[in-house]
Amino acid sequence: MKRDEISLIKEYIKTTNTFKMRRLIGLAVISMMLMASLGIIYANGWSDLSGDSSSGWLLVGLFVSASAIAAVIIDLVWRK
């Protein structure tokens, strides 16, 4: 009985980690979609409607993507 519980908990931890890995990949893909849109705006010089600093937009985009990916990596490493 107790053995079963322990193996269940272990399986639960394993499954959770798999899902975290998939979450990491998911967020990385969305971040890439965001960077692609920002890249298109930068390449065409389209940021004139608001602020007129394409490089600023790109930098912020990089910052956003890095934070998103960092969060899941911290989650994976810190909460094994």
């Binding site: 969305i30 965001l34 920002l38 007129d52 934070s67 998103a68 989650d75 909460r79």
Partner: protein
Amino acid sequence: MSELSELSNKSTIADSRKTRMGMLYAILAGPALGLALGLLGTIVGKAPFNLEYPTGGFAIVVLLQVPFGLLAVTVFALISGAHRDIWRVFRSRISWWNTFVATGGFLGDLCYACSVVLVGGAIAGPIGGLFGVVGALIVAWLYKEKINRWSTWVGLFSMGVGIWIILSGGELVSPTHGIYAFVGVLIIILATLVWGFENFAIAAGSDLMPAESFLWWRVGASYVIGFILMWLLFPASHEMARQVYSDPKLIAYGAVVGIGWAIWVIMGYYIGIAYAGGVRGGVMAGTFGFFFIAFFSMTVYGVPFSSIIIIGSIVMFIGAALIITEPKELLAIRRG
């Protein structure tokens, strides 16, 4: 036996770590919301959204923010495996209610866009961030989570002072003044109430299922309901839709707004609250995300810089931090 007690000890530590991790998710998601809604705030007052006034706010949410957000959330659901739960959600009785309430969060998005037209993102952002505190109060009340400590009251007072500073400094950067600005502030306060309730819905729902699973419905249902309402009630939106979808520049802007918003909704809002609870996750997601809206509006998107707003936001953030700080042992007991 000893292995079992070791596991239960591990689980207590894991609980408090999970709460801290949730707060970290909410903090790190902040810049994404600033990137998205800061941009939304600066383009909502421009063509073609200025064709007819309240319609522009509605149209930018329904035509750009939500469809691109839905695209990103769908991609995320497919990769993360949450797509399997999308239909399964309806087997649980509470999920209908939960989906309904979370969809109400869409009303908050609308209020935000309309308010931004009147007072600008630099003011609407920090006040909108208060939804976390409203949500925390609702969760504390319904879940009987004790937040009545001296630090809570000092925190609430500090947030009040922060808002007062922001409002006094914000007059300088607000597009409208007088009664229009006042109505704009009232609308954003309504948004904080609606979002606050959504905050509770996420906390309650994620006790039963992964937050990612009903997030898809929050965004998907928002899109369908919003689109039908807009198309029927606001004929001016037809012309806006035509102009928006024939301009590649606006579509690229929409992708930035929608995808950036989706990153925040997934990480900061839904996962953050699922991990850290409605009180801590909500307050963190709200104050941090909305601080970045004001910050990026003024640094990247060309809204005139006002150091008073930054100072007010920092005072507000200190208040929020006071509301949520407590020792990790207590965290584990309360959340466990």
